[in-house]
């Protein structure tokens, strides 16, 4: 296989997404923004994994990574749902959606 094939291209795209998501996770203080970043990292990892299993164009995409990724997508949604509920409950009690150790001066209260 010569040159840049589709699968390798998308795998590299996934690597880029991991970097972008990680940055969002480190740089953002709002917890919902971190949750978005967490999901970007997640789908980046899925893309790396799935595209790596699709490099043999003659065989088609490998079903085993596909099945694991579908499981992963569902688990990522479940995690997001639990974290959203936690963020909302925390915001109800604390009046802000950022953690105190991230921002001692500005607590996001109106």
């Amino acid at each position: 296989m010569t040159g840049l094939d589709t699968a390798t291209l998308f795998a590299w795209c996934g690597a880029g997404l991991i970097g972008i998501g990680l940055y969002g996770f480190l740089a953002n203080r709002h917890m919902l923004r971190r949750l978005v970043a967490f999901n970007v990292v997640g789908s980046g990892i899925f893309l790396v994994f799935g595209a790596s299993g699709a490099r043999r164009a003659d065989l088609g995409p490998d079903p085993v990574p596909q099945a694991l990724i579908i499981t992963g997508i569902v688990v990522a949604l479940a995690t997001t749902a639990l974290l959203v509920a936690l963020v909302i409950r925390y915001a109800d009690l604390a009046g802000r959606a950022t953690l105190p150790e991230d921002e001692p001066g500005d607590d996001g209260k109106e």
Binding site: C13, Y23, R29, D62, I70, V74, L82, A97
Partner: protein, 311 residues
Amino acid sequence: MTGAIFDIVLCLLILAVALAAILGRDLFGSVVFFIVYGLLVALAWTRLGAVDVALAEAAIGAGLTGVLLVGAVARLRRGGVVEPTPPRPLARGAQMGICVLAAGLVGAAIAGLDPDAAGLTATVAQNLEASGVGNPVTAVLLNFRGYDTLLETVVLLVVLIGVWSLAEDRYWGGRPGLRQHAKPGGVLATYGRFLPPLGLLAGVYVVWAGTDQPGGAFQGGTILAAVWLLVAMAGLVDAPPVTARRLRLTIVAGPALFLAVAVAGIFMGGFLHLPPEHAKQLIQTIEAGLALSIAATLALLVAGPPQRGAR
């Protein structure tokens, strides 16, 4: 050649939209960009030939996660919680360095992969006959690696209990979310009646077709969950109290059925063993049960913890 250009443009678009979702000016805009991002990633999966994953990504990764996040933004706004200003700190050198390094390391690892590695595609294809189904992804999900899926359904159940347990004490046992109202004769009330039959048809079809074509209990179950959420949003049905017996039976039925088949397998060769001559029927039974439970569980996950009494 056209295909290669399309793929390159798609990759650049995915990266740009991901950046917009991470760095967007306001939180709501970020969430909308994230939904667009999910749909573009689903398109990437179809380009890779992984249609099952594309369906799951579009329905779950973009659709349900999007509804969940849009709801959360609206809920925080109603609670008077606003974003701290400035919404994001300026780029910090060290953080950016770490992220570029991480992406570079993953990229280098991809470049170092053996280009001729065959993976498990051939192994799955050889054993597809014995799995009882024609879709290799379904064969892996429900037969070859059934324990993954069994545990995943249990994870969904545990997470739902976790979400419910975040309810305020006085609402424990009550109904999830807020009562929704829609103007009678308005767009939502009309579509809340017009779309469900189509949605039910599509959901059941995707579950049924999943044995031999792309689809399955998770993708179909998500469509069914979306139908319920739409009807609830149109104010036509209300969420049942989380203590309702029928509701609890619905969410447990699928995993329980799966577990029963798995245990029955002990007498036919081992835990989770599906005898090839009955595998197709067993998988379809499990998928039907799972689709029902997954639909109910996902819809309830999006609805959130109980927020009012059972009345």
